[in-house]
Every structure is written in structure tokens, then in C-alpha cells.
């Protein structure tokens, strides 16, 4: 099942020396790309070509996972698409176990910066998941301990504690029908001693001493 967008029409590709033009040349070119992808597990070319290759690579892997290597049709397809025949072995013995239970796409595609000066082509990287190379995109850092996030987290905690306290206070007081000090909407200041903003690290009381 394909979890990425498929264009309604295939892209046309430029003809290359030795590969021919038109739809036939396009498929021959894509064969080379798919073979390269399976071999090196990462492909860097124009984004359009990466996108075109992606569909075929994913489909091939999905067929291999679904049908296994005993299926004639799948073997024929693998034989056609993988120009280097040792990759057929890799497809069935390495990639199929890797992607068998993966509930996601087997490939990832990234856009990378256009080189300037240059012809202005939009470049992309297509890679198989689980490849041994360093990640294309930097891993997002954990910002939980950043100063502003700490402040917001503490403010949120305090707010929820306050709400809980208000709720329990409302539950404790039997409802008499009076409208004085409605619990939910009242802006009661929390008891500062009970609040959790204690400076627990203070060893020396009060002096501006060494940490």
C-alpha cells in the first residue's frame, strides 16, 4: 500500500545516450535508478527523478514482501528492474525482512538545496529507510530544558494544580446555592507556601554565596 502521493500522470524524462527517448527510455533510465537505489540505499539526483523512482522502488519492495521469492511474476519483475542480479538476492533476503512489519513507506525522499551557481534544478535525495548513512536531515533537538520551555511548563503545572485545588475545594464545600465565591471561576491566589516553586537547591540561606 502506498503511503505517499502519486501523481496522476507520469513525468516525461529527457533522453539519454544509449537509453533512448520516450516512455521506453524513461523506463530504462528508471531501471538504472532503482538498481542504484537498491545497491547504495541512497540516491541523489533531481527531485523529479527521485519522485519517479520512488514509486517503482516501493512497488517492487511491496510486491517482494507480499509475494515472496517463490512467485514467478515477482521474480520476473525483480529480474527486469534490477540490472545487477546480485541485488535480487539482496531484495529478498535483506530488504524484505527489514520492511516486512514496517507500517510505513520503505523509502524517504528529501528536498535538498539548489546549488548556486548552476542550472537551477531542484535536487532531492531518495533513500531506503534503515540505511547505514548519516541522516539527511538533522535530528530535531529536545528543547524541553530550554529556559522558556521550562517557564511555560512550570506555569502549566501550576495552573493545573490550581484547578485541581479549586475543584477539590468545591467538592469539599457542600453546595448551598449561594453565589459567593464560585469555585470554578474565582481568581483565588494560591497559597504561596503550598506552591511547588520551592528553591530546593539552596544550601546557604540567603547569602549571595558560592554555588
Amino acid at each position: 500500500m502506498l503511503r505517499f502521493r502519486i501523481r496522476t500522470r507520469p513525468r516525461k524524462m529527457a533522453s539519454l545516450e544509449g537509453l533512448g527517448s520516450g516512455p521506453e527510455g524513461r523506463l530504462k533510465r528508471l531501471r538504472k535508478h532503482v538498481t542504484a537505489l537498491i545497491r547504495h540505499e541512497r540516491l541523489e539526483t533531481t527531485y523529479a527523478q527521485c519522485d519517479e523512482t520512488r514509486g517503482y522502488a516501493e512497488k517492487l519492495i511491496t510486491m517482494a514482501v507480499r509475494n515472496g521469492d517463490r512467485d514467478k511474476h515477482t521474480m520476473e519483475m525483480a529480474d527486469y528492474w534490477l540490472l545487477e542480479k546480485d541485488l535480487i538476492h539482496k531484495l529478498f533476503k535483506v530488504l524484505v525482512p527489514r520492511y516486512q512489519s514496517l507500517p510505513a513507506t520503505a523509502t524517504s525522499i528529501h528536498r535538498i538545496s539548489t546549488e548556486y551557481p548552476g542550472d537551477g534544478r531542484h535536487m532531492g535525495v531518495l533513500e531506503l529507510k534503515g540505511n547505514p548513512w548519516p541522516p539527511v536531515r538533522p535530528q530535531p533537538r529536545n528543547t524541553r530544558l530550554h529556559l522558556h520551555n521550562i517557564q511555560l511548563e512550570e506555569a502549566k503545572k501550576e495552573y493545573h494544580q490550581e484547578r485541581l485545588r479549586a475543584k477539590s475545594a468545591a467538592a469539599a464545600v457542600p453546595p448551598e446555592g449561594s453565589s459567593v465565591d464560585g469555585p470554578a471561576g474565582s481568581s483565588v491566589d494560591p497559597d504561596p507556601i503550598d506552591s511547588e516553586s520551592e528553591s530546593g537547591e539552596s544550601k546557604n540561606s540567603g547569602d549571595s554565596s558560592k554555588r
Partner: protein, 323 residues
Amino acid sequence: MALLAHVARGCSRIPKLQLEAALSVRFQSTLSHNDTKARRARELRPRRNYLLNDEVEQHRKSLLQQSPEVEEIPVQQAEANVPRDFRHVMPEFLPDPNPLYRDRVTEKLERMDMYRRRTCIDIPEFYVGSIMAVTMADHHAPGKQSRFVGICIQRSGTGLRADFTLRNVIDGQGVEVRFDMYGASLQKIEVLKLEQRLDDELFYLRDAAQEYSTIPFDFEPVPLPKGATVPVNSTKVKLNPRPWLERWERHELKGVEDLNLPEKKYRRARQVAKPWERWDLMKRQRESINEDEEESIMKETYMETESTRRARGRQKASLKKTR
């Protein structure tokens, strides 16, 4: 009119809003400030009522889905053992793969209508090459209905617009009738002989001898043993001499005899042939829908039509023999 006269004179004392309002009554959206080329193109572009693969994936991965408050709605698909080739038995239930025409809600509603229709009239399992008899309501015919017998040469359309074409030769004249499968005027559809041919479409019968298309109107139904697979009729049809309606040498027909054409015809056929399409995985993908969606639709169809099939005392859907 007075306002326009002002404009014609180039008067600038009229408030701008008033002017625009007045003119826009006459000239729709020519003075609208956001009447851009992009906006017009967007309005003319056909709208898509369908979430594409990556959009569904985004929703699947979104943080909202990971909230503990999200309840998983249990899917009511029971463990029905749907035969793998069931999609060939009732192919009209699968939607048109073109994403522009896809709309899951519309498709679901159509399928519901189709199930309901199937409770009224028995639409049996048939394939291209089966001999069928259709009784249709006809206001002008004696008895107010007309019956047509023929060999099914084509099956197309999706949803409620599914159709099939029957061919027969009546009084030396080839006749083809296309019937809407879910049309209200169909009163009875009988499959007199359930079988398959070697091709998906039998249009070459138009260029073949009439014997191949003649089916007597009193054709006796041929019963099949229970649980049998659909037989494949491997008749090789002999075509009439050229001229033909189509260049049959270019069609990769399996159900015709050797065409006996000059070599250059075959050479030209090889030149215009597209053998690479056999390997084009994405072309197949574009001609069908996602496999999981296909599976779920077929499961639903199987379960909904199961009761109808049983009620009619029919055999269980026999597996199509894969060619």
C-alpha cells in the same frame, strides 16, 4: 445609470466603495480586489473530494491521533475469508482510480444502492464470453418486456454505471446491446452458460464469421457442478479476411487463430508495440486503487452479497481460474 455617467465623465467625488458596489452589479467581479488569475484558475479547476495517500498518512501520524482520548472505532469487518480473486467476480464495486473522480462517501452510497438493487434482482456472476439472456421492460413490446440473448463481449463501468454488452446475430445481422447492470428496467438477467474466454474483450467477433456470435434465443442453460471453477473456453476464432474494424495484429489477442497477414504488418505491429508497459509498475498502480482499500471494499461486498447469494440458493462464488 447616473453613477456610470459620473464615471464616464471621470468624476472623482463619488465614494470609492459606492462606485465599486454599483459597477460590480453590472460587471461581476471585474473590480473585485482579489480577482486574480490564480483565483479564477482555482475556481475553474475541478475539486477533489478525496484525501490523497500522503494526506491520510499525515492524519495517521498527527499528534491528535496519539492523544489517549482518541477512541479507536472498531471496524466491523469480520474475519470473512474472501477469496483472493473475488475482485474479478464483481469488479464494478471497485471505484474509478482517477483521484479526480474519487469520493469515498459517494462510493459508499453507491455501493449501498447496489446491494439494495441486488436484493431485488439477481445479478449473477458472469464474465466476458458467457452467454446471457436479459429480460428488459419494454413499453412497446408485446407482453411489455423484451428478452435478448447473446454472448457478453465487454464489461465496463464502475458503480451504478456498470454495464455489459451482449452480441448476437439475428437474421444475419450482428446486433450488440449494451445493458446497464443496475438499470431499473432490467427485470431478469440469466447466465445461460458461465464461461470465460482467453481475452478480456471480444470485439474481434465483429470481424469474425457470424457463426461465432450466433446464439439461439432458446439456448438451454448449461448447469455447472457445485464448487466448480469457471471453465475457460479456449476457442480460437477465425477472422474474416481484411478489411477489419481494427488492426487485430496489434492487439495481442489470444483467442484468435493465426491471422495470416503479410510480414510487414507484423513488423509494423512490433514497431508500434509498447512491450515495456508490461513492466511498468506505476502504470498498473495508476489503473487501480490502493491494495488495502481494494481489499476492504471487496470484503464489504463479499459480506453484503453473501446473504443475497445464499438466499437465492446459488452456489458460492467460484474462484476465477487465473490465466
